[in-house]
């Protein structure tokens, strides 16, 4: 069953420059993907590709100067973009929650961990404090916070980075959401701690039949913690499919460039074609947005690339997708 579907989502940032000219940054340019019940989808891409923006749009959190000229976001059958604020609030934080990048700034510094977990529950449902405390303790235990009773009384600044990230995961899971969006959940954590946190998140999502979107720039995280993946470039999804299919086929030239830019692949295959800057979002060319950096670009690429199906659920936004042999 499809839990979240994003269809042809466009996001523009409209600002007024110093010279009073109106400028439009086309940050998302037709993003479409779905998240099925029980699966973990990885959104991967580089800075400015639109990963976090996609998540914010899905959460209904975009505010001016961001505008959505076209597109639809359906969560559990409801159109997020058309929902009145009250109904949106009933979804956000309850059925759809988010884990953000910087744990220490995302917790309220003036409230104890336990109070924040209780507040998170009471905001959205009539639940007694005793019941809420019980559930908070249970969820802290689930995210493997040692000695939950003591941690409930801790202030955010007393937590280490890894512990704070676990508390944030607990906050995101305490209302038993159907979808968790984790935006770079382990960036800034040490490698050994990162591994623990990712394991915990995945195990909990699996055990509770939830769905998750993991936003990351780390291909290793996608390769080992996601079922499906979408590769983003300049506000478009250039390739998406099952993780094993995408890594095996790498049909979009950008996907291929990205994967071959990892040290492991460089060690094996040497330096491939690297470099290039992302296109200027204020001044996007027509046609394929990747063509300036693409070694395979032809005359054809000046027109908008079609979405070509490679296999079941595996699509590539490229004129030449069918001709590109698997590596």
């Amino acid at each position: 069953m499809t839990l979240l579907s994003v269809e042809d989502l466009h996001v523009h940032f409209v600002t007024r420059g110093l010279d009073n000219r109106i400028r439009t940054a086309r940050a998302l340019n037709g993003v479409s993907f779905t998240v099925e019940q029980g699966e973990i989808v990885g959104l991967v891409g580089e800075t400015g590709a639109g990963k976090s923006l996609t998540a914010l749009a899905a959460m209904g959190l975009l505010r001016p100067p961001a505008m959505i000229p076209t597109g639809a976001i359906r969560f559990d059958g409801q159109n997020i973009l058309a929902l009145p604020p009250r109904e949106l609030n009933a979804i956000r934080g309850v059925r759809m929650t988010m884990i953000v990048q910087s744990p220490l700034t995302s917790l309220d510094p003036l409230a104890r961990v336990g109070d924040q977990l209780v507040r998170m529950q009471q905001q959205h449902s009539r639940i007694s404090r005793a019941e809420a405390v019980k559930r908070a303790l249970a969820v802290l235990d689930e995210v493997r916070v040692a000695d939950p009773e003591r941690r409930m009384r801790a202030w955010p600044h007393e937590l280490s980075g890894g512990m704070a990230q676990r508390v944030l995961i607990a906050m995101a899971l305490v209302n038993r959401p159907r979808l968790v969006i984790a935006d770079e959940p382990t960036t800034g954590l040490d490698v050994t701690v990162q591994a623990q946190v990712l394991d915990t998140l995945r195990d909990l999502v699996r055990a509770n039949g939830m769905s998750a979107i993991i936003i990351t720039h780390d291909l290793g995280v996608v390769a080992h913690h996601c079922d499906r993946m979408a590769v983003m470039f300049a506000g478009t999804i250039v390739e998406q499919g099952r993780v094993s299919d995408v890594f095996r086929e790498q049909r979009h030239p950008y996907t291929r460039a990205l994967i071959s830019a990892t040290p492991k692949r460089i060690a094996a295959q040497g330096f491939g074609q690297v470099g290039g800057t992302p296109p200027d979002l204020y001044n996007l060319p027509g046609g394929c947005l990747y063509r300036d950096r693409c070694g395979r670009a032809t005359e054809l690429c000046t027109s908008a690339p079609p979405l070509i199906g490679i296999g079941p659920g595996h699509g590539v936004l490229c004129h030449h997708a069918a001709e590109i042999p698997a590596p």
Binding site: T15, L18, D19, A27, S52, P278, D280, Y282
Partner: protein, 295 residues
């Protein structure tokens, strides 16, 4: 997510372009700048703009009310108030500009050295500055000018010295924050000697707060020099200095000749206000927190 933005302000070269850019973003700055500019023009063009010589006396036209030949009236010596107000702006700038320069020349290097060297050097310098600041400035300047003589140079020196600690403090705080910045470390690593690290690398990045403060302190210089002249220890009458003119005019307010004190007073208020607006505007514009979000 970040969107790559490039400011595409129309490029005008040099200082004028910079000022126009600032004025566009801050009306406060624009207004302050305009007021100060008006007085600057008056000061520079006083010889042509003033209808009379400011110290020429007209014995038969003592205490004439505004109107007629004397647009703003004449004072107790039969001198033209308008001409004296216009020439007074020369004293205002003649004191505040060199005093401001002195504050910067003394205060900024002290602040840079104290902030960068730290430790004992910093401790000693800051304590000395604290002592200087602990004196009530008006009393100290009165005492110094009274003791050393009421010359224009003495007024400038006193004001310049007394305010330099403010600049030392502001710059020191910025330098302290920058001292461990990566680019400063990189400058040391490349092999820069300490003076280059301090004055080529750190100073240009630590000077913004001081620049914003300068007009505010110059307004203070205008005020204090007028105060000194008003109490009779600064610039002496019949020199067309606003403070001295207000002192002279104060005698006539009771007898109804209000214009002698009022017009130099208004000029003083306007210029002080102008400097302060200029400073406030700069502060807003140069504040890094505003710069970060003000795109």
């Amino acid at each position: 997510m970040s969107i790559a933005t490039t400011d595409s302000a129309p490029a005008r070269p040099g200082v004028i372009g910079w000022i126009i850019g600032l004025a566009r973003r801050s009306p406060t700055f624009a207004l302050g700048f305009a007021i100060v500019l008006v007085f600057a023009v008056l000061a520079l063009g006083a010889d042509w703009l003033a209808p009379f010589d400011p110290v020429q006396t007209f014995p038969f036209a003592v205490l004439k009310p505004p109107g007629g030949d004397f647009v703003l009236g004449s004072d107790g010596n039969g001198m033209d108030v308008l001409s004296r107000v216009i020439h007074g702006s020369r004293y205002a700038f003649g004191i505040s500009l060199p005093a401001g320069a002195l504050m910067v020349v003394i205060g900024v290097p002290l602040g840079v050295v104290a902030g960068y060297k730290g430790g004992v050097t910093d401790e000693v310098l800051i304590r000395i500055l604290d002592v200087l600041r602990a004196f009530p400035t008006i009393i100290l300047s009165l005492a110094v000018v009274a003791a050393a003589g009421a010359s224009l140079l003495n007024v400038v020196l006193v004001i310049g010295f007394l305010d330099s600690p403010i600049f030392a403090r502001i710059v020191r705080a910025e330098v302290l924050a920058l001292r461990s910045a990566t680019f400063v470390r990189a400058a040391v690593a490349v092999g820069n000697p300490p003076w280059r690290v301090m004055f080529v690398h750190i100073l240009p990045n630590a000077i913004m707060g001081a620049i914003a403060q300068l007009p505010v302190r110059m307004s203070w210089a205008v005020r204090i020099s007028a105060t000194l002249a008003f109490v009779g220890v600064g610039v002496q009458a019949p020199a067309p200095e606003w403070g001295a003119m207000i002192r002279q005019g104060a005698e006539f307010v009771i007898s109804g000749e209000w214009w002698v004190a009022t017009f130099p007073g208004l000029a003083l208020i306007a210029l002080v206000l102008g400097f302060n607006l200029l400073g406030d505007g700069l502060q807003d514009l140069l504040d890094p927190r505003r710069r970060a979000t003000g795109k």
